[in-house]
């Protein structure tokens, strides 16, 4: 019997969609400023008001991102699911070890793959990179959006620095997404052409056991998965508890009944 488990709640999936929408808007309207002398970029801004319109769209993207960040912080702090996932996201010494172990495993110096929890070190790294990047971009961006206020508060060298940081941090974010994130969720042979978790929110129990064994064991221990039984073919059989909904609230409600600590 095949089963799936909800890895990303609908709320989290929506956050992801908003995040990449705002990211896309901000990149398209922001990155050209890194190459103002490029003829292709010049052609994009072909009519005189285009630069101003670009600015308006960029600020719209910024509002989207800021709103998302505020919501995300609230989500992490005030919902059980968010809180739980945030705790799972916290960096531990194990993550560094996992990175090294995975490296050794790949070059053939370890027989076994390191065992990951709900979020492996790559995912944690990406998450905190986004957090860090967003904080930097929002702060330096606001300093340029509200230039007059920033002029009153900060000396000019800070504003000069903010401008440089905003540009380079954007470039860094862009390259990270295109190289690192797209590799992990698109080009990686195990998910190619695309991991569908961001749409369905679900991963198969097989995948769960293979890629997140520690989380799998946690779920088994908590009785959220009926552990492997041998079916006729001899393969492990998983069973997800019925009524696993897409909304975090459903799960929370259920767990409250079970009174998990």
């Amino acid at each position: 019997m095949k089963g799936t488990i909800l890895r990303l709640t609908l709320a989290q999936r929506i956050q992801h969609v908003i995040l990449f929408t705002s990211f896309f808007i901000l990149m398209v309207t922001g990155l050209p400023l890194f190459f103002p002398e490029n003829p292709v970029v010049k052609r994009i801004f072909f009519f005189s008001a285009s630069f101003q319109i670009r600015g308006i769209i960029h600020r719209f993207g910024a509002v989207l991102l800021i709103g998302l960040c505020v919501y995300h912080v609230a989500y992490c702090l005030f919902t059980r699911r968010g809180h739980e996932d945030l705790k799972a996201m916290l960096l531990r010494k194990k993550d560094l070890k996992d990175g090294i172990e995975l490296f050794l495993y790949n070059i053939g110096m370890r027989a076994d793959k390191p065992r990951f929890g709900k979020f492996n070190f790559k995912e944690k790294f990406e998450y905190w990179a986004v957090v860090w990047g967003s904080v930097i971009m929002i702060i330096t961006g606001l300093m340029q959006w509200y230039a007059e206020a920033a002029m009153i508060i900060f000396p000019k060298w800070i504003l000069d620095m903010a401008r440089i940081i905003h540009g380079y941090e954007a470039l860094l974010a862009f390259l990270s997404i295109v190289i690192w994130h797209f590799y992990n969720v698109h080009l990686n042979p195990s998910v190619f052409p695309m991991s569908k978790v961001w749409i369905t929110g679900k991963i198969s129990l097989k995948e769960l056991e293979e890629n997140h064994p520690i989380w799998y064991e946690e779920l088994v221990a908590r009785g959220e998965i009926i552990p492997a039984e041998r079916d006729e073919a001899g393969g492990p059989v998983h069973e997800a508890p019925p009524g696993e909904g897409g909304f975090g609230r459903d799960r929370e409600g259920k767990r409250d009944d079970r009174k998990t600590p």
Binding site: P32, L33, P36, E37, V41, K42, F45, F46, F47, S48, S50, F51, Q52, R54, L102, F103, Y105, N106, I107, G108, Q144, A147, E148, A149, A150, M151, I152, P155, K156, W157, I158, D160, M161, R163, I164, I165, Y168, E169, L171, L172, L175, S176, I179, W180, Y183, N188, P189, S190
Partner: protein, 416 residues
């Protein structure tokens, strides 16, 4: 004085004509042949003279007789007369003008040679009209076309014929703010060729006597743009110009010459987004910067800012050089009246950024991202220029190793 001279000359001709009892009304004699519209001898030349049209001309009205100009026919009794006559000598009456012409670029190049442009090339022959007559060849609105008879060659044509007449000048002019004002709006006071170049006494622009030389250029433009000339003369550029400095910009260095366009036309060299490029011709010039001890990298340090980036991408509201430094009235920052004087900066920046305080502007404005000028920006740039390649390198390394690992494992599995 000149006018009186001309009047005197005309009067004397008339008097001479009238007081010559030996001669009949010579016009009538001439018109016996030349009054016939079919009188077409001498190959390419139309020998017909329209009596009525001549009568309307400036000379006809003044009663100037044929022989007053065609002096070698004076006293001729046998007709038909010799086939080739000497060229009419306008200097008999128009002494000053012809003298000026001889000295000008249009004068004789050498002994015995013809003038480059003769009186009749610009003024016509028998039917010359006064310059304020719209039908006159030298009426203001007709001048560009008149001059373009010679000054319209393309560069190639000029080279082929060996003529030195500047190429395409009139064509450029017709597209300029002056040309359009004149031809499209009918603004007759708009500058035409002669206003800048002079008429009879045109000198090569390299000559110090030329109205369009570097020395005289601002004064020439200032004939109409008086207020701007006053501003310019007080500016750092104007003061140096008056001292005879050959390096400072004069009007045409920023605005162009025949091609001058209004500042709100995108192709203009003084359109907001083009100003930085225009100023950079001198202020990004290593030789000039060293010669006058000017701060270097003004252009580069502008381009790196938000102002510069926005300006490069066509935002006309972004500050350009002129927004802060002024236009014709640019003063050195050390001058207390300069818009970029430390005391004036809050006001200048405040035009766009009301929050710009003394505290804000006391830092360097044109900063390079170098250690000594802007440590924060310098370090940020340095950090990212190391961090980004390292991180991306790490990504690529990790990805390749992971791909290598999965390939190796797959091979192993197959072997098993």
């Amino acid at each position: 004085m000149r006018r009186h001279g001309r009047l005197l000359a005309i009067l004397s001709v008339i008097l001479l004509t009238l007081s010559s009892p030996a001669r009949p009304e010579d016009g009538d004699v001439c018109l016996e042949c030349h009054g016939d519209p079919g009188f077409w001898e001498g190959g390419d030349r139309d020998l017909y003279v329209d009596k009525d049209r001549f009568g309307l001309s400036v000379h006809g009205r003044a009663g100037v007789s044929c022989t007053a100009c065609h002096q070698d026919l004076e006293g001729t009794e046998d007709f038909p007369h010799a086939e080739r006559l000497k060229e009419a000598d306008c200097s008999i009456c128009h002494e000053d003008e012809v003298a000026a012409l001889e000295e000008s670029v249009h004068g004789r190049k050498g002994e015995g040679e013809a003038r480059v442009a003769r009186c009749r090339d610009c003024h016509g022959e028998h039917y010359i009209l006064p310059q304020d007559n719209p039908l006159s060849m030298v009426y203001r609105a007709n001048l560009p076309l008149n001059c373009s008879k010679c000054h319209s060659h393309s560069q190639e044509e000029s080279e082929q014929t060996g003529e030195s007449a500047p190429s395409g000048a009139v064509k450029s002019y017709l597209g300029s703010v002056h040309g359009k004002a004149l031809m499209e709006k009918g603004l007759i006071i708009s500058a035409v060729c002669v206003d800048c170049h002079g008429s009879h006494a045109i000198r090569p622009s390299s000559s110090s006597e030329s109205l369009v030389s570097r020395e005289n250029g601002p004064g020439t433009c200032g004939k109409c743009h008086t207020g701007i000339l006053v501003n310019y003369n007080e500016s750092i550029h104007g003061v140096a110009h008056r001292r005879g400095n050959p390096d400072v910009p004069v009007c045409t260095d920023c605005h162009g010459e025949h091609t001058i366009l209004p500042h709100n036309v995108e192709a203009s060299s003084v359109f907001p987004t083009n100003i930085p490029v225009t100023c950079s011709h001198c202020h990004d010039n290593v030789v000039l910067n060293e010669r006058y001890g000017l701060p270097s990298k003004r252009y580069e340090t502008f381009l790196g800012t938000y102002h510069g980036i926005a300006s490069q991408l066509g935002d006309v509201t972004a500050a350009n050089c002129a927004s802060c430094h002024g236009v014709h009235d640019i003063l050195p920052s050390s001058d207390p009246n300069s818009s970029v004087n430390l005391k004036k900066l809050p006001e200048t920046c405040g035009k766009c950024h009301p929050g710009a305080s003394q505290h804000f502007v006391s830092s360097k404005i044109h900063v390079e991202e170098v250690e000594r000028e802007s440590l924060g920006a310098y370090l940020a740039k340095k950090f990212y220029s190391i961090f980004i390649p390292s991180l991306i390198g790490l990504f690529v390394l990790f990805i390749s190793i992971e791909l290598y690992g999965s390939m190796r494992r797959r091979k192993k599995e197959r072997r098993r």
